[in-house]
């Protein structure tokens, strides 16, 4: 007997491509086994990082696979309705093709409102679809148990649904999409093995720098890695940004990242709302109060409501630790 899709997902070891890296098959199993009458699927195409357009690349080239992945999910978990949640430019660009592909299917296109990065966080997406303010919910309950309109909800990223389709067709080769940018020769999106090292990706794509550099992995929320840290295998790398160590003004780097956090957070929690702003202001004034920065990061780690604040802490902590050691500008 042929294996069910959930078994195939488990065998493939596919982890969600949205960033959190949760094992996909477990999420599907929870929603499938729920006895609720009403269930929902959400395909997350919010793709919040400004520069990255990985999801756009997939929508451009593999739209049928994404829709196919969603349809597989609908029948597997027994959902009545699926939403494809897309950021504005994707929505405008793909709505016509998508409406042809989803004709007579219980799939609804949903345009992400102008709410910043937080509008791509999974519980926030539910709030938005339900017509409320774009603010995250308290977890638990997890969406798989109690999600959209209080029903079990399976939410996966665009790339994950693409992979599901490939796995169902037996076409999945354990690969993922990498977005390489920054000071590189060949900027763009590449398909390489899932467990590549950072150096491996840079080499394979012809982007190994011949200057003193550091990289940030995973966009604005990602950590900084120095050249001697990039050889180990990483899982869930989605983007690599290469910086020239000698040319990069760390104040500008922090300003850019902190401003993104300041504008993209939902303004609910004190440390996120005020902390990102203060760090951004310090960077603009080219003077860091290191004690204050340490305090803000500590509070973000320990008192944030959602992962936005905690991930912000990871990013800022690695910048300050690796690039601005001991209060001195190392760059």
């Amino acid at each position: 007997m042929e294996k069910g899709i959930i078994e195939k997902l488990r065998d493939s070891q596919l982890r969600g491509r949205g960033g959190a890296g949760f094992e996909t098959w477990i999420k599907w199993k929870i929603v499938k086994e729920s006895l609720a009458e009403q269930k929902y699927i959400i395909c997350n195409g919010a793709d919040g990082e400004i520069e990255s357009s990985k999801d756009g690349f997939i929508l451009d080239n593999y739209l049928e696979d994404v829709v196919n992945g969603i349809l597989i999910a609908i029948s597997e978990v027994g959902a009545q309705k699926a939403y494809i949640f897309l950021r504005k430019d994707y929505f405008d660009k793909y709505k016509e093709r998508l409406s042809v592909l989803t004709v007579n299917q219980p799939i609804v296109l949903f345009e992400k409102p102008e709410v910043g990065y937080i509008g791509g966080e999974e519980t926030t997406i539910c709030e938005i679809i339900e017509g409320r303010e774009a603010k995250p919910r308290l977890k638990p309950p997890y969406l798989a148990e109690n999600g959209l309109f209080g029903c079990p909800t399976l939410i996966n990223n665009v790339e994950t649904f693409y992979c599901v389709s490939k796995i169902a067709q037996g076409d999945y080769k354990g690969e993922r999409f990498y977005y390489v940018s920054g000071k590189v020769k060949n900027k763009g999106i590449f398909v390489l093995p899932d467990n590549a090292s950072i150096r491996g990706v840079l080499q394979e794509t012809g982007n190994c720098p011949d200057f003193d550099y550091f990289v940030q992995v995973g966009g604005y929320f990602g950590q900084i890695y120095l050249p001697d840290e990039i050889d180990s295998q990483f899982s869930a790398i989605s983007s690599i940004t290469v910086f020239d160590k000698n040319e990069t003004d760390v104040y500008c780097l922090v300003e850019e990242i902190a401003e993104f956090f300041h504008k993209g957070n939902c303004d609910k929690c004190t440390p996120c709302r005020e902390g990102s702003f203060l760090i951004c202001e310090m960077a603009k004034n080219k003077s860091f109060d290191y004690e204050k920065v340490e305090q803000i990061i500590f509070s973000l780690e320990n008192s944030s409501f959602c992962a936005f604040g905690r991930n912000m802490a990871i990013s800022l902590k690695s910048i300050f630790k690796k690039l601005i050691k001991n209060g001195k500008n190392q760059v």
Partner: protein, 555 residues
């Protein structure tokens, strides 16, 4: 229901399923310092100060939204918790324009309390007055420079079914802003629920002082006895109704009335209206119109129900009309008569300016002082307490036995009056029961001459909206509906002094009031009013739009 037992700081405590750590802690007088928590709102959990740790669980938890569990061990203090609290407090305070001395909140300000406990010196990193203040009609001022983004006002405004306040992201920060397409009903719940004092009433104190300064003026005060106890908690034990009346006399008041006399008239009129309505073929539920915020709510958001509203004015307006009418018949120049109402309400500031409530071009009431403003005004007095004590109680008219202690009392009295008119008998022991699914709603059925009269009383517009929806589907679901826009009734009005979460009971009415009044004098006033009853008591309400603010210019 099964109790959940657990520990806070080693102390055994218990609570119900679904309760939060914060709520159980407050009941047990365990103080968890937080800023944004309001017992009657869904926790916003925005300040991130009420953190606790729980044995065998990683990380910290905000006590306001963490549900209690059997056997959990909660710790409210540790060096890490204090560290985070300090950081987050500083972050909050850094954006708050610290106009603490003039702030309406200062007595019960949680921010100041935390500053004291943790030994912070107050210094603002932000200059005050950078952002422009908003004024909502003649009632409420919002100063965004004091806002700490807790979102309580937006939530309570939404709960009220008004949705006038919303957040908008401006330059990286979410700001509370009034919505263009909706309008404020001036209930003042934003004010009661704002932890940082960003909302306050538009002050009538200068106006009242000016009226009192002119010794040619004949100034009359009226107040609802409901607010007296909160005066005590603000000003001290001396301040009962008598003492307040004496102080007002000292300030120059010629006469002082309990607004309950106006309630008597309203009840008389309303029971007539109810009898009339019940006799109609397509009978409509009669809505009371005592609460100006409720009236505006109907006019703006549910105009299809305007014809349900009683065409009676509210008690203090009716009594103001009676006073002015009577004094005019006594030969006093109407232009020199001033009636000032003291009320727990911000919406009345708007009500007194409504042109359709004038009688012969004269406003029945000239100014509203909220309970909070009265406290401020009295604190400015230069008299010592012994001097006030000497003042006589002549021309002070306070009901004792029959004073209305709560809004519920009013509708019960209305029902009794109505019953007596219809049957000639007394109605006793009428009990109200909770309406399932309607917040702060109670109902009662009265059988009168074989006819069932259904009565509902609702506090807060969240519940009132549900009754309106019920009436849309079944216009005969109720015959008589009393609504007060504020969820805790007038006691929880926007003009009340702000109390601690734990001490809200302090605002309850004084039970042992010493009242007295000259019955003959009240009868004279009532009788003088009989000839002009319609002009004094009735009005027409109409559909309101944003541009039609319904406030005439000051006289």
């Amino acid at each position: 229901m099964e109790k959940i037992k657990f520990k806070i700081n080693g102390q055994e405590v218990e609570g119900k399923i679904g309760e939060t750590i914060m709520s159980v802690a407050l009941k047990n007088k365990i103080n968890i310092l937080g800023v944004c928590y309001c017992p009657d709102l869904k926790p916003e959990s925005s300040c991130r100060l009420c953190l606790v740790s729980i044995a065998n669980r990683k990380g910290f938890f905000t006590s306001c939204n963490t549900k209690i569990e059997q056997g959990m061990e909660v710790i409210t203090d540790s060096p890490e918790i204090e560290k985070i609290k300090r950081i987050n407090f500083e972050l909050i305070f850094s954006k708050h324009s610290q106009n603490c001395f003039s702030c309406r909140r200062k007595k019960y300000c949680k921010l100041l309390k935390i500053a004291r406990v943790y030994g912070f010196d107050l210094k603002s990193s932000k200059k005050a007055g950078l952002l422009e203040k908003y004024q909502f009609g003649p009632s409420i001022i919002f100063d965004p420079n004091k806002c700490i983004n807790c979102n309580n006002c937006v939530q309570v405004c939404h709960n009220q079914g008004v949705g006038f306040l919303e957040t908008r992201k401006v330059g990286g920060f979410s700001r509370v802003t009034p919505c263009d397409s909706r309008d404020c009903i001036y209930c003042g719940q934003c004010l009661s629920h704002c932890p940082s004092g960003a909302f306050e009433e538009v002050s009538s104190i200068p106006n009242v002082e000016q009226i009192l300064a002119n010794k040619q003026n004949y100034v009359v005060f009226q107040f609802s006895s409901v607010m007296v106890k909160s005066l005590k908690s603000e000003l001290g034990r001396n301040w009962d109704i008598n003492f307040l009346s004496k102080a007002l006399k000292k300030m120059g008041a010629k006469m002082i009335f309990d607004t309950s006399f106006g309630v008597d008239v309203v009840i008389e009129e309303e029971s007539k209206d109810l009898i009339h309505r019940l006799g109609e073929k397509n009978r409509q539920c009669l809505f009371t119109s005592h609460c100006p915020a409720w009236v505006k709510f109907i006019e703006f958001y549910y105009p299809e129900f305007i014809s349900s509203l009683s065409n009676n004015r509210s008690p203090h307006m009716i009594w103001g009309g009676h006073i002015k009418n009577y004094l005019t018949t006594q030969g006093i120049d109407p232009a020199k008569i001033f009636v000032i109402s003291i009320a727990p309400c911000t919406s009345k500031k708007y009500e007194v300016l409504r042109p359709e409530l004038e009688t012969d071009g004269i406003r029945p009431v000239d100014a509203i002082l909220t309970t909070n403003e009265v406290c401020l005004l009295l604190q400015k007095l230069n008299y010592n307490l012994a001097e006030i004590e000497k003042e006589s109680l002549k021309n002070v008219f306070i009901k004792n036995k029959d004073a209305y202690g709560s809004n519920e009392d009013i509708i019960k009295s209305g029902l009794r009056a109505f019953y007596k008119k219809k049957t000639g008998k007394e109605l006793n022991g009428q009990e109200f029961k909770k309406i399932e699914g309607v917040e702060n709603g109670i109902e009662s059925d009265v059988l009168i001459d074989g006819k069932l009269v259904r009565v509902a009383v609702v506090y807060g517009l969240l519940g009132a909206k549900k009754i309106l929806e019920i009436l849309k589907n079944n216009p005969n679901a109720y015959d008589y509906l009393e609504v007060m826009a504020c969820p805790r009734g007038c006691l929880g009005g926007g003009g009340q002094p702000i109390c601690d979460d734990a001490s809200t009971d302090d605002c309850l009415i004084e039970k042992d009031m010493n009242g007295y009044f000259d019955v003959a004098q009240i009868a004279k006033i009532m009788n003088a009013g009989l000839k002009k009853r319609k002009e004094i008591c009735k009005t027409e309400y109409s559909k309101a739009t944003k541009n039609n603010k319904k406030t005439s210019t000051d006289r």
